[in-house]
């Protein structure tokens, strides 16, 4: 459209950037007014020992209507699972059932205080025990803490339990082995837990190189951290040999549970020889990602590690009632209260709705959908590790770069113009120009076919008009951003002095 296009008045509402909420409204605007005091007022500076606030903070002056419009506009600039296909690899962007959003808001859940007597939270404790029991069955690991707030937090929790376990055996050990395909959280977690990282290369099939693993293992090694299925979407065929080798030197095996959506009801990490894993309730168990959180990262462990679980743990007593307990050698706690309880309610509703067979069917469909897309795309976008995949697969954009000078980033940005959220890109690091698709089981065949068709169309555009892709996206609320400027000239907050 041009500036003079009469169909679009100059004063039409913008789909693009909007004024900050601080720049909205007027000094007279009010929304919620505090009620009149029904007790005697107190001299604040006296009761607060001279610490009463002198200069008030600057907050927005807006009416409820202005708030509604501001956030409506912000929402309109966002893309969620409801907006369209969201095949973000390793993130499991499945549909978030609406019932779960309703039940977590029931007063009997939302209006509970964490220090209420256990007799008044029997339903909440029972829900947490029920969820923990289900996770234990699904993972084959009987000890469960729901407390960690996210996957990385779960990793940290488990590695600190490993430290406590090894320390109890007389030696905390020094190193943790991680394959080069691992998520960045794994090495970052290891550093936070006070261990050194030893990285090992993957083999030609994208799996753990057994020789490299054996060479890295000695009695200084506390653990191996492994994602299985791995970040290429491949199940490691040597998994039993791997965990046996780890155990042979007295180390423990940790499973990064990011990819659990591939194997529910099909195989269990506990049966593979893993000692601990985390579950991302916000991936596998359909709780919404919330634009970056809150999620939840429960940790499941073997019976041998269970005495080290953080507390407090909801427990079922012999008389069928519920209480709260601590384990003998608990590492302590990794956050306040029980964890992200509101997320547990949603996840438990999901488990109840699907049941055991439904969870297995969800994994089967997720794997089928990924293989379907992989087969249709691998002729156009090379598939460096060409094996049947689990719930996700990793293509390479290297051919488009070599032949047309088009990068994976360009393909991703062009997808936005077609109303599809890009897959995960440039991860894992072991694939050149990587494109990681995870369609999930909740995309219909029609959705899958459309994603395939669009990816093929974009490959054609790359050949015929590479600059079209270099400039994409065109139809989004804003276009490509100057990220270097954001770093060089940090503007991290609005200041009252910069007001209009």
């Amino acid at each position: 459209m041009t500036d003079s296009d009469a169909r679009f008045p100059a004063s039409a509402p913008s789909r693009g950037p909007r004024a900050l909420i601080f720049e909205t409204g007027s000094p007279e605007s009010r929304c919620v007014v505090a009620p009149e005091l029904d007790v005697p007022d107190v001299p604040l500076d006296t009761v607060l020992a001279g610490c009463a606030r002198v200069q008030a903070p600057v907050l927005p002056h807006v009416t409820e209507g202005e708030i509604a419009r501001h956030y409506h506009h912000l929402a309109s600039m966002n893309f969620g699972v409801d907006s369209g296909s969201y095949p973000l690899g390793s993130c499991t962007m499945k549909y978030n059932p609406r019932l779960n959003e309703d039940v977590c808001r029931l007063e009997g859940f939302a209006s509970l205080h964490p220090y209420q007597p256990v007799g008044t939270i029997q339903g909440a404790l029972g829900l947490m025990v029920g969820l923990a029991d289900a996770l234990a069955e699904i993972t084959g690991l009987p000890g469960v803490t729901l407390q960690p707030a996210a996957g990385a937090h779960g990793e940290f929790t488990a590695i600190m339990m490993f430290r406590a376990y090894h320390t109890a055996n007389g030696d905390p050990r020094k190193r943790i082995v991680i394959p080069d395909a691992a998520h960045g959280t794994n090495p970052a977690t290891v550093a936070m837990a006070g261990y050194d990282v030893t990285t090992i290369a993957s083999d030609a099939r994208g799996a753990v190189d057994l020789d490299a693993l054996r060479a890295a293992l000695d009695t200084d090694v506390a653990a191996l951290m492994l994602t299985n299925p791995n970040t290429l979407g491949l199940f490691d065929p040597n998994i039993v040999a791997i965990t046996e080798a780890v155990h042979a030197v007295g180390a423990l095996a940790y499973c990064d549970g990011a990819n659990m959506n591939a194997i529910m009801g099909k195989a269990r990490p506990g049966d593979m020889g893993f000692d601990a894993m985390h579950i991302n309730l916000h991936k596998t168990f359909s709780t919404p990602h919330g634009g970056g959180g809150p999620g939840a990262g429960p940790v499941c462990v073997t019976a041998a590690l269970a005495p080290f679980l953080p507390g407090p743990l909801p427990v079922r007593l012999d008389d069928g009632t519920f209480s709260v307990g601590w384990t003998e050698h608990s590492i302590g706690r990794v956050r306040s209260s029980f964890g992200n309880f509101g997320v547990f309610v949603r996840a438990y509703a999901y488990v109840l709705a699907l049941g055991g067979d439904g969870l297995r069917a969800a994994s089967e469909q997720a794997v089928l959908s990924a293989n379907y897309m992989k087969e249709k795309l691998k002729g156009t976008y090379p598939l460096p590790y060409d094996r049947p995949c689990m719930h996700e697969f990793v293509l390479s954009g290297a051919r488009l770069r070599k032949e047309f000078g088009v990068h994976t980033l360009d393909v991703a940005k062009r997808l936005l113009d077609y109303g599809i959220h890009p897959p995960t890109i440039y991860f894992p690091l072991i694939v050149d120009e990587s494109i990681m698709f995870e369609p999930t089981e909740t995309e219909s065949l029609e959705d899958l076919d459309r994603m395939i068709e669009v990816m093929l169309t974009i490959a054609g555009e790359a050949a015929s008009d590479p600059d079209l892709l270099h400039g994409a996206p065109y139809s989004t609320p804003v276009r490509r951003l100057d990220e270097a400027r954001a770093v060089k000239q940090p503007d991290l907050r609005w200041r009252p002095s910069s007001a209009r």
Partner: protein, 432 residues
Amino acid sequence: MLRAVGATEIDELFDSVPEAVRLGRPLDLPDGLTEMETAFALRALADANTPTTALVSFAGAGCYDHYVPSIVDHVVRRPEFFTAYTPYQPEVSQGTLQNIYEFQTMICELTGMDVGNASMYDGATAFVEAALMASRVTKRHKVIVAGSVHPEWRVVLRTYAASGNIEVVTCPVADGVVPIAAAAALMDDSTAALLVSSPNFLGHLEDLAALGEVAHAAGALFVVSVNPILSGVLEPPSSFGADIVVGEGQPLGNPMSLGGPGLGFFACREAHLRQLPGRIVGRTVDVDGRGAFVLTMQTREQHIRRERATSNICSNHALNALAAAVYLSAVGVEGLAGVGRACVAKAHYLRDALLATGKFDAPYSAPFAHEFALRYKGDPAVMHSEMLGRGFLAGVDLGTIDPGMDGLVLFAVTEKRTRAEMDSFAGEVASL
């Protein structure tokens, strides 16, 4: 679809799973339920609880029952917000990103600090991240934590410190606050930070000005945790030399939800920006020159820096931060001050009323804001249970949290409590 992938059975797709580790049986879980059955099952569990909405609650201790304006949840329930991922694709994430930028601004305004991050898991983990950041900034190993900080937070700090990355020393408490001399005696040239909370766990205000001087005299950072609902009435920690300010943001527009999810907030001085943990959003421009927002300073983070990252954290509590930002927009500066003033005035009213019953002693004389501890002259567990039967959640029986605080009951009063409820509560306690 099976034909397209060259398979006849779904199980062929799982051929790479070794026979030895295939489950080979159905999961031992109940059959799936219809939506109606699921709704009824969850309703039954909810009904097996007694929510604070069915009680008159004086429970606080880190989780608070404030009024949440209706508009807050209407915004939070927009699927464009709650079904989105972390805003890695800024072109289609401007809603999440702009909100975080506005949230960062609000946190800076409340705390008086220069820069804030996009939020963290909760107050306790933000507190720990502050200790770890202070250690990185000062290249020192030891942190001094006030014994008046929330006991759960101190346990979390100790749990993280088992990594060996930091050493934690607890400063003793007298009259419910940190004695300046006691803090000063613990500081030395290996101290990275002095960490305090004000109001502290018992609701008391610490002498932040003096404690800040103690920290800085030793070359350590001064870390202060605050309750943001009081930011309209209490001077911000920046006025007392705080280097890092953290806290639990749940009181701002988030339901208690048994203690989670809430949000942690984290703010610091500009000089320490590059050591900040967590997500940060910055403002920049797009190729057409339009103002826009993006995740920035990412070279601090795990997906780039791996084991050399400032933290392993790769999420925030964006949806809870959204609730907090909408809350602060809805109440505005007068509303926030009004809520704070109401909480303080009502807490002082209740304390006087409870002392007048003759059933309590006042063990502390330190100034307090909206929460206070009294010693019950009988068995607090009996009192608590008896009052529950009469429809009151009689604060938090501190002996159940820490045997060292046996006999103490911690009362919090929010703007939701009325004079009639407090009079009724005091009357019922008097009749025990």
